[in-house]
């Protein structure tokens, strides 16, 4: 029986669990930080010693932790890219801009267990020699910002922040920085620009890799809320124990945001890859199935920019069976919910947000909704994205407002194909194209039928309108 595996959300929904520091302390809070700060240096057989921060960095690498924000990049590798010899300060920013449509997991952590995030952050800062860090929280979370500010005050009062934390000699200050409603701030270089007080125009890479030239052109780490919480558990459990959770190369737990047409939408923490998409949608422990009398039509598996899956789709995936690589046919619902399986199936787990659509969904309307989002949120720096996202949205607007054309399906794909692939500075180009490409490819008929029906209707209207127009023209030319 598939079930939740609550590590990060272990206490969040327990009755009586509150976001204050006393409650957190009663549940073992900040003990892992104490452990981290008092780790003894490790002596290797070759006479070298590894200092505590380096040990933590090694552990995070060994744990296999992959970023929980969207890209799924190895957290340990990300940290290893940080330029530690530049002589400049190193900054850490917690990305709490949670804004990928479908995602609402970080909200739970921030609201219900803010100290867990702070503890994870302080440990991560200690591991990376960071003395000033920020939490970039989206503007739409005013209550979240207040909760975090309260938590920071409490942590300062208990000497978990500030100068010489718990007499360890380590100094750290953390501040909350609020965004103001722009999705692009979730992109790490856009976020950095925004934190510098500018428009959040993403920076071009190279040369502006945050690990080298980030905030104020200093080495900078940007990690998602959930990723930073996971660091705490890696230090608490040890890397190998953490890596036992989940599946190889997809270790640990992940909070899945499940929304749309299921009986029990919500957030579910699972061992990565140990639960399938079908179980997440249908099992009573998770989504509990579709609404009565409905059948599945489509699933967006990783936030609105992930390529859509059509009900009944099958994929040929390479899998290990008894140690051997074999190719197997896997149905969409049988896909293990992890990073690699979803990439192999042509989509991604992204921010781990699943949006379920049943047969009542007008697929053209659904795509029009997504396209409008991206048209609104493109920062406007790169022409293909600024223009393309708007053209796609306009074409879909007319398709959903009786003004469609039969050729719109092809038109949409033509635009979508010309945005991504290195034509734009950041991955927003991909994010706005993937839904269009996949929706039209997999539900082409619905787009064509809609456009054709509109054309036919207009042709009829024109025929009846023609004699009237001619008569009007004759009258007006007489004057």
């Amino acid at each position: 029986m598939p079930s939740e595996c609550r590590l990060i959300l272990k206490h969040a929904d327990e009755p009586g669990y509150t976001p204050d520091i006393e409650c957190y302390a009663r549940h073992g809070g900040y003990e892992v930080l104490k452990k981290a700060l008092t780790l003894p240096p490790k002596n290797l057989s070759d006479g070298k010693t590894i200092n505590p921060p380096e040990q933590i960095r090694d552990d995070v690498k060994l744990s296999g932790l992959r970023g929980r924000g969207g890209a799924g990049f190895s957290c340990g590798l990300k940290w290893s890219f940080v330029d530690r010899k530049s002589g400049k300060p190193i900054y850490l920013i917690c990305n709490a801009d949670e804004s990928e449509p479908g995602t609402f997991k970080d909200r739970q952590i921030i609201h219900k267990d803010p100290h867990q995030l702070l503890e994870g952050m302080i440990i991560s800062c200690f591991a990376n020699d960071v003395h000033l860090a920020y939490i970039y929280i989206r503007g739409e979370f005013p209550e979240g910002a207040r909760i975090l500010n309260r938590a920071l005050q409490e942590a300062r009062a208990k000497h978990f922040l500030g100068k010489n934390i718990l007499d360890s000699g380590f100094d750290l200050e953390i501040h909350v920085h609020r965004g103001a409603g722009a999705y692009i701030c979730g992109e790490e270089t856009g976020l950095i620009e925004s934190l510098e007080g500018k428009r959040p125009y993403p920076r071009i890479k190279p040369p502006y890799f945050p690990a080298i030239l980030g905030l104020y052109m200093c080495p900078t780490i940007v990690n998602n809320v959930e990723t930073l919480c996971a660091v705490k558990h890696i230090v608490a459990m040890g890397a190998s124990e953490y890596a036992r959770l989940g599946t190889p190369n997809n270790t640990g737990t992940r909070i899945v945001s499940l929304s749309g047409h299921v009986k029990r939408p919500g957030y579910y923490e699972i061992e990565v890859g140990r639960v399938t998409i079908g179980e997440l949608i249908n099992d009573p422990a998770f989504g509990g199935g579709l609404r009565d009398g409905r059948t599945l039509k489509a699933v967006i598996p990783g936030g609105s920019s992930a390529k859509v899956f059509k009900a009944g789709e099958k994929f040929r995936l390479k899998r290990k069976v008894e140690g051997k690589d074999v190719e197997q046919e896997v149905g969409m619902l049988d896909l293990p919910y992890d990073f690699d399986s979803l990439i192999a199936a042509g989509s991604m787990s992204g921010s781990s947000a699943i949006i379920v659509m049943d047969d009542s969904t007008d697929i053209v309307e659904a795509l029009a909704n997504i396209a409008e989002f991206y048209a609104h949120e493109s920062c406007g720096q790169c022409t293909p994205c600024r223009e393309g996202s708007l053209w796609m949205s306009k074409a879909l607007h007319r398709l959903t407002h009786g003004e469609g054309r039969k050729s719109d399906a092809d038109y949409l794909v033509k635009i979508a194909d010309n945005i991504p692939g290195g034509r734009t500075i950041c991955a927003f180009g991909e994010a706005c194209s993937w839904p269009v490409q996949s929706f039209v490819a997999k539900f082409r008929e619905e787009f064509v039928v809609k456009g054709a029906a509109d054309e036919e209707r207009r042709a009829k209207e024109n025929k009846t309108a023609e004699p009237i127009a001619k008569a009007e023209l004759a009258v007006s030319s007489r004057h």
Partner: protein, 161 residues
């Protein structure tokens, strides 16, 4: 029109600025403080903020025009923001938006923020509020509401005394 920042607010703003090694970084936080106090960000407020942070007015103006949450004109006393994006749309947020507009005598099809004649209510669509599991969701000023039925919507309006 003169623009005066109350001493207490200015003290708060001065404190915010100390959170950053570079003053300019405080721009967004200062604009939030100003908007919370005045309800919107006037040209004078832009100039004041720029002077405060040692910047040109354009450096602040370009933020006010970019970030959707900043307002260049006053909005209603109670600002109702309904989530427009996919999960909420599947959960009936567009009907909810229409319901609010109908109830308050506003045009549901007009673009952007709509404010009632008496300046009491504003209604607008916003993009994903990260509450997708309990669609449709909305905010009324800083308060977040989940699973908003039409009767719950009426209650929210009634509670705005």
């Amino acid at each position: 029109m003169s623009f005066t920042v109350p001493a207490q607010l200015e003290a708060e703003i001065d404190k915010l600025i100390t959170h950053y090694p570079v003053k300019r970084s405080a721009s967004l936080m200062v604009l939030h403080s100003i908007q919370e106090n005045f309800g919107w960000i006037s040209q004078e407020a832009v100039e004041w903020t720029a002077a405060k942070l040692g910047l040109q007015p354009i450096n602040i103006y370009e933020l006010v025009t970019f970030y959707p949450m900043f307002r260049q004109e006053p909005a209603g006393k109670y600002q109702i923001k309904v989530c427009r994006t996919l999960s909420c749309a599947l959960g009936g947020s567009h009907q909810l938006h229409k319901h609010f507009c109908g109830k308050l005598g506003l045009d549901a099809h007009a673009h952007g923020l709509q404010t009632t004649g008496d300046g009491k209510f504003s209604v607008e669509f916003v993009e994903c509020l990260a509450g997708c599991g309990s669609a449709p969701v909305m905010m009324c000023n800083d308060d977040f509401y989940e699973g908003v039925s039409h009767s719950k919507a009426d209650e929210i309006v009634r509670s705005c005394a």
